[in-house]
C-alpha cells in the first residue's frame, strides 16, 4: 500500500513538473526576428507513421539555423516550415528530412 502511495506521488510530481515546464516555455518572450525575410514552404513527406515521427522531423528541422517554426501535419503527410531566406534553403530542409529516412517531395511555396 505504501508503495502504491509513493508511486502515485511520484507520478503526480512528474505531471506537475511537466506542467510547470510547459507553462514556463509558453510564457517565454520570443526573441525579435532578424532583418532577413521570412518565407513559408510546405513540404510533402512520405514515411511518417506515428507521432514520434512527427517529433523526430520537427526537432531535426528546428535545430537548423534559420528555421523559425515547423508544423507537422501527420494526417495530410506534409509539413509547413517558416524559415529565414538567405540563412537556409528549401533544398537543405528536404535533404535533412531525407537523411532521417523519410521521403520529402518538392517544396511548395
Amino acid at each position: 500500500m505504501r508503495w502504491f502511495v509513493l508511486t502515485a506521488i511520484l507520478l503526480v510530481a512528474v505531471a506537475l513538473g511537466v506542467g510547470f515546464f510547459v507553462h514556463a516555455r509558453q510564457g517565454q518572450v520570443q526573441p525579435p526576428t532578424s532583418q532577413l525575410q521570412t518565407r513559408v514552404v510546405t513540404i510533402p513527406v512520405e514515411g511518417m507513421v506515428c507521432l514520434a515521427c512527427t517529433a523526430r522531423v520537427k526537432s531535426t528541422l528546428k535545430t537548423i539555423n534559420g528555421v523559425a517554426e515547423v508544423e507537422v501535419n501527420l494526417a495530410g503527410r506534409d509539413l509547413r516550415v517558416e524559415y529565414l531566406e538567405g540563412k537556409v534553403s528549401p533544398d537543405q530542409l528536404v535533404s535533412a528530412i531525407n537523411r532521417l529516412g523519410y521521403r520529402a517531395g518538392p517544396p511548395k511555396a
Binding site: G47, C50, A52, T54, A75, R77
Partner: protein, 228 residues
C-alpha cells in the same frame, strides 16, 4: 521502403474483395510496425514485462502479451469506424498529450517492475491481476499515437482504389499485422523464460524489465519535449 511505397506496389489487390486483399492489409500492418521508430523501444518493454511475468507465474507472460495485442487491435477497430474524424488524433497538440501519457504509463510500469524485485510471491499475485488490464490499456493508448496515421493512409488508399471492402475488416486485418510483432516478441520472451527455468533469476529479470520500461518512458518524454 515506406508504407506508401508498399501500398503503391501491392495496393491494386485491395480493389477486389479477395482474401489476398486482407493479406496485403495485414502485411501493411507489419510494414508499419517495421518502419515505426516506436516499435523497438516498446517491443523491448513488452518483452521485459512478459518475460518477468512468466518468471513469476506460468502463462502470465503470454496473457500480458496477448492483452497488449488485443489493446492494439481493439483500438484500430474502433478508430476504423470513425475514419472521418481520425485527423483530430494526428495533431501535434494531441501528440503532446499522447506522448506524455505514454511516458507516465511507462514510468508507472517501471516503478512497479522495480518494486517487484522486493516483493514476495504472494504479494506479486495482487499486482498481476491489474497487469492484464494495464497491458490492454497500454496497447490501446500506444496504438492511438502510432497506428492511426498508417490506418488513415490505408483507408485513403483503399478508397482511391474504389475498394468496397468495409473499414471494419481492413482495420481488423491491419490491427493484426500491427500488433503481431509485439505478440511474437512477448510470446517468445515468455517461452524463453519458461524453457530456461530461470525462476531463481526473477529479481534480475525484473530489474532488466524495469530498466527497459524506464528507457521507454525517457523515449516518450523526449518525444513530448520535441513537440512543445
Amino acid at each position: 521502403m515506406t508504407l506508401e511505397e508498399f501500398l503503391r506496389r501491392f495496393g491494386s489487390v485491395l480493389a477486389g474483395h479477395s482474401f489476398w486483399g486482407l493479406g496485403i492489409v495485414l502485411m501493411a500492418g507489419i510494414v508499419a510496425s517495421a518502419v515505426c521508430p516506436c516499435t523497438l523501444p516498446v517491443g523491448l518493454g513488452i518483452a521485459g514485462v512478459a518475460g518477468a511475468s512468466e518468471s513469476k507465474s506460468r502463462r502470465t507472460g503470454f496473457i500480458i502479451a496477448i492483452a497488449f495485442f488485443v489493446g492494439i487491435v481493439a483500438n484500430l477497430v474502433i478508430v476504423g469506424g470513425m475514419a472521418g474524424r481520425l485527423g483530430a488524433l494526428l495533431t501535434e497538440a494531441f501528440g503532446r498529450y499522447w506522448s506524455l501519457a505514454m511516458a507516465v504509463m511507462s514510468l508507472g510500469a517501471a516503478v512497479v517492475a522495480f518494486r517487484g524485485t522486493r516483493l514476495k510471491a504472494d504479494q506479486l499475485g495482487a499486482l498481476r491481476r491489474p497487469g492484464f488490464a494495464g497491458a490492454f490499456l497500454y496497447g490501446f493508448v500506444f496504438s492511438l499515437g502510432t497506428s492511426v496515421a498508417p490506418l488513415l493512409v490505408l483507408l485513403t488508399f483503399a478508397a482511391a482504389q474504389r475498394s468496397s471492402a468495409n473499414g471494419f475488416a481492413l482495420a481488423l486485418a491491419f490491427g493484426f499485422g500491427r500488433g503481431l510483432p509485439f505478440l511474437l516478441v512477448g510470446l517468445f520472451a515468455g517461452v524463453v523464460m519458461r524453457l530456461a527455468r530461470v525462476a531463481s533469476w526473477r529479481r534480475a529479470i525484473e530489474l532488466v524489465s524495469g530498466c527497459a520500461l524506464l528507457f521507454v518512458s525517457i523515449y516518450y518524454a523526449r518525444v513530448f519535449a520535441a513537440l512543445l
